[in-house]
């Protein structure tokens, strides 16, 4: 029989700790597929966030470094500047990247660091039990916005991809969604493109992935997908916000 689907070689067969219906697993897989595709697993360092993906070192077949909460872009900068021959990616949640690590992501992007950033936006702090994130939607109930996010007291959800696209240092900025096969395929292409940009020394590449956290949204996996489609995508539009021409 012909094998048509297999686990990427850049990921091992550990059983992932993610909850049922969590899209972190899909995001991992897409990164692993890109590493396989370009044959770069052996010269890649991934920088893990503090968040549900902190344990990503248990799954990847490339070297993985733990960073303090929000600091992966600075850590990745240190790696890439000292080993420009290596491929470096950070993998971060919305609390990690858009709240505590906002300065680090903006400045790494602005310097045009030749790294790839995978941004998993699930609109909550998954790991700590579902508190409000900077990406939490208006009206969304979380454990620290029990009456719903209120724009007067909590401000508006941040659109990171749009914001980073305004910076000259970025080479590729896109937002994708992990809700249905067609979008996952688009996400796969985006991740490939992001690593390709790094391989071509084009500077900072960024893939925001609209994701689910069924556990902290208090939903079933299918309800969570529906919410992603009906509530997240309208506020966080999908698309490519920046793509520099490869020179």
């Amino acid at each position: 029989m012909k094998k048509v689907f297999a686990r990427p070689e850049s990921i091992n067969d550990e059983i992932m700790h993610y909850c049922a219906g969590c899209t972190h697993g899909i995001a991992h897989r897409l990164v692993a597929e890109a590493l396989d595709h370009y044959g770069i697993t052996g010269k890649t360092v991934g920088v893990a966030p503090v968040g549900c993906a902190v344990l990503m070192y248990d799954y990847f077949e490339c070297d993985i470094l733990e960073a303090p909460h929000g600091r992966p872009p600075a850590v990745a900068t240190g790696i890439k500047r000292s080993r420009p021959d290596m491929i470096v990616f950070s993998y971060q949640g919305d609390g990690d990247l858009a709240s505590i690590g906002l300065a680090e992501i903006v400045h790494a992007a602005n310097r045009g660091e030749n790294i790839t950033v995978i941004f998993v936006n699930n609109t909550v702090y998954g790991m700590t039990g579902g508190q409000m994130a900077p990406t939490t939607l208006l009206g969304q109930q979380t454990t620290t916005s029990p009456y719903g996010r209120n724009l007067n007291t909590d401000g508006y959800p941040i659109r990171m991809a749009e914001m980073l696209a305004t910076l000259e240092g970025t080479s590729y900025v896109t937002r994708v969604a992990l809700d249905k096969p067609a979008n996952v395929l688009r996400a796969r292409k985006a991740v490939f493109k992001a690593f390709d940009m790094q391989l071509k020394n084009m500077g900072f590449s960024f893939v925001e992935m609209l994701s689910t956290c069924p556990t902290n949204w208090g939903m079933s996996p299918t309800e969570a997908i529906t919410r992603l489609q009906e509530e997240l995508i309208p506020y966080f539009p999908l698309g490519v916000f920046k793509e520099k021409e490869v020179v």
Partner: protein, 379 residues
Amino acid sequence: MSDNTRILVKGNDALAMGAIKAGCKHYFGYPITPQNEVPEFMSRELPKIGGEFVQAESELAAINMVLGASAVGIRSMTSSSSPGISLMQEGLSYMAGQELPGVVINVVRCGPGLGGIAASQGDYFQAVKGGGHGDYHLIVLAPSSVQEMYDHTMLAFELSDKYRNPAMVLADAVLGQMQEPIVEREQAPEPPPKMWALDGADGRPARHLKSLLLKEGELEAHNMLLQEKYREIEKHEVRFDEYRIEDAELVVAAFGTAARIAKTAVGQARKEGMKVGLFRPVTVYPYPKKRLAGISERVKDFLVVEMNTGQMLEDVKLNVAGDAQVSFYGRPGGGIPTPNEVLKRIRKYYPGQAESNVQSPLWQTQGRQSPKLENKRGT
């Protein structure tokens, strides 16, 4: 430049020169007075030798850039002064937990808060007791001359790599800004290959560097291993300097700039016939506990001099024999003790020579609030 030619160098430049001689080609930092000469020197010199200078967006970012560079096996450093070093504590704690080398220079200024840019030794506790969260130590070297600024930076890289532990050079604004002749050293040998570095999983299983240890008992065991390492460091890396200790009846203990001042006072006291010596810890972690204890078997009077309100004082008290008497003279907040002020405190031990009008500083009587201060504050 031949090795025995002396050149006149500013302390902060000596730090940068020592780092480059140690093979450091990667510097990450954020401007802060009184250490700006270090990033300025690095931004000028590193590109010439194929290195990298990054002006980080903050000290938080700078220390994490060092963390990243270290993790892939590259010697790197950052430098700052007190407020910036406070921001680095998070990264230092992670580096200690992940057992990553890396050199941090603190050209200490005075605090608390924004404080001021004058020299101080107010960061001693933060430097030698850990500083960030968790049970850990940095290796901490305390230079007291421009030559030592240079040499200690080189040594910091060596020890940091040897023990896979972040190391700090604890300088201060006086040392950073003063000029002295120094002798340049030979280029340090390449450090041995780092078998733990994340240099790509080609042909080997993937490696991870992390401090998160969630399995039952794993973190406790890791902490015990760290403690074992600190005991090794304490056993092998203690360094100190002594001046006229042999027949001393009174030993002045001081580090860094305070030790220079104390040395002048001790020299003068000797001229006046007082048998005084100086004990200067060069490593403030590991602290020269044993030597201090040894001295105190014979000498029973100690005077600690610091540019703070009594921080190293605690380490001296902890380590001298129970029947030794320890007194203190210090000035915080940018105040620098003069040799004369120290001499006055020395003379107190020689009643024949004591001046009747020597006033004790507010904080000399440990644990007792000055009535003057109380009156000023009211109720």
